[in-house]
Symmetry: C2
Subunit: 326 residues, 2 copies
């Protein structure tokens, strides 16, 4: 077992004081060129790495960020979080931070966990996913002065805090345009019940694009909770209409899959580009998850390392992955 290498070991080895070693690491510019080089050589030779716990005690900064890992609700959208997490971890490491996971059972429980993590691990910040209207979690964090970024915008007040989001409407608009270009005129939309910010946004993109092409969207949309059976149900309902749609834009791959099974024909487009879509050849709107994750980390670390003033918003463009269904 190798001996423990502390800042004192390095200092001794480079024949300087501890403080000088610390300066080389934290404010290199105030150390003379030659001394700095000697210290850096000692650090490399001994394989020294600063002990985060000790650093944290003094500075109050743990270089730890936390993200909630959800219990993979309906199983289909889990992979979105998965890819996002990988991006976060990667980007965080590049910025000198590490990602810690936590689970929670509802917003109240999550806030209790915030408190716990802050008190015992001195977390530097949080990345929240899936915000909804008037999210209590964001208010709690803001109130306690805890830095955080959400992936997903606060629909009631866009500039209340920093966030990164994907332009959902642009995604469904792209999907709708694609269907129009391939000759469809009556295009249905299968989404979630009105009231969810993301769902409404996705419906909007479809609706606006229809109107922009002089197509009447009235009566062509349905809403249901996410799921394959629900998607099928909505599709059947639309297909039973006198002037039934010949193509469908859906708010999720689950709904799209349902529509496909209900005999929605071959013109169906989903959302999220999940593994399911890749597997069955479903055309789907893809979110730039690694990019979104990287931007989340950027916003957080900028806030942590620089001047904590103001909030920043980032809206990313999704892209359409064309496969066999459109």
């Amino acid at each position: 077992m190798a001996e423990k290498v502390t800042i004192a070991t390095v200092a001794h080895h480079a024949r300087v004081s501890r403080q000088t070693v610390s300066n080389v690491l934290n404010s290199p510019h105030i150390v003379r060129e030659e001394t700095r080089r000697r210290v850096e050589e000692a650090i490399a030779a001994l394989g020294y790495r600063a002990n985060q716990a000790a650093r944290q005690m003094r500075t109050g900064r743990s270089h730890l960020l936390a993200v909630r890992i959800e219990p993979t609700r309906d199983g289909i959208n889990g992979s979105v979080l998965d890819r996002f997490l990988h991006g976060l971890t990667f980007a965080a490491a590049a910025a000198g931070y590490r990602v810690m996971l936590y689970t929670a059972d509802g917003d109240g429980d999550e806030i209790k966990t915030f408190d716990d993590l802050l008190a015992s691990y001195d977390l530097d910040g949080f990345v929240l996913t899936g915000t909804d209207h008037g999210d209590v979690r964001t208010f709690w964090l803001a109130e306690h002065g805890v830095p955080f970024v959400t992936f997903g915008r606060p629909w009631d007040a866009p500039e209340r805090h920093s966030w990164v989001d994907v332009d959902n409407a642009a995604g469904t608009a792209q999907a709708t345009r694609r269907l129009i270009e391939t000759g469809h005129r009556r295009i249905g939309f299968i989404g979630w019940p009105a009231g969810s910010g993301v769902g409404d946004d996705r419906r909007d993109g479809w609706q606006r694009t229809m109107k922009a092409h002089d197509l009447d969207p009235a009566g062509l949309d349905r809403g249901a909770d996410d799921g394959i059976p629900q998607g099928a149900e909505c599709a059947r309902d639309l297909l039973a209409m006198p002037d039934a749609p010949t193509a469908f834009v859906c708010a999720s791959d689950s709904l799209a899959l349902g529509a496909l099974r209900a005999g929605g024909g071959s013109a169906v487009i989903g959302f999220d580009d999940t593994p399911v879509a890749q597997a069955i050849g479903l055309t789907s709107v893809s979110q730039p998850l690694p990019d979104a994750a990287a931007r989340c980390i950027d916003l957080l670390t900028d806030h942590l390392d620089g001047d904590p003033v103001g909030t920043t918003q980032v809206l990313l463009q999704p892209s359409l992955v064309v496969r066999t269904t459109a």
Copy 2:
């Protein structure tokens, strides 16, 4: 902003010394009943929680475990890791530990990350997933005296370290029995090229069950890398035989999906019970992931909190989730 509550605050409030508070937390039995209660009340009243960084400095234990998050290789099996991670985080929290993520690009890079994490965060242990023959990572960890558990056994030497695994052979055996019970006699197996422990194990379960039922497995198996096209290719090859199989047991849902698409009929069983299987109604062998995660944490924390002697192995039974394809 609330004042910082330290052990000294609690001590003052309960009119005892810091050490007595520490004893109440770490060795309650040596503190007098009445004193203990007074201290516990003070802790509750002030909302005190021990600072892990300070504790770690003294004890060398961070109560942090690390898991690698992979870049979702082929997209289909990513959700397995996702569900496993959730289970880990949950079980770890219950045992007083937290889970930290890291990424790595290959085994060499992962070992460098081990070194880094140990030096700067003083991690207590690692959970490794996806071990292969003669895994260099496990040797490095063992050599450096770092506690770890793998999800997946070391195929070359079963008792070299602690692990939790799912009985793959039992899974494919169950799948094969199911197909035999529903009247099939010529059952093909589509798996991975020989040489991977997991793949060979899954092939074994099929082979043994066939023989146990006086069915000849010879010539009925194919091997290819994981993926839908590969699965389709293998299925086509088998179906072109003079006495073609009427059903397929597959080593993964991806391969199974390929077999289905190649016209493998309606009798196809996959492995892993991924969202894709759930989505398309594919019968699949399901791994008890939350349970496996909990056992990993058990093994690790037992080792950390108790006497670090010997290794333990846990083999869990998978279950067959019957849907529409078998």
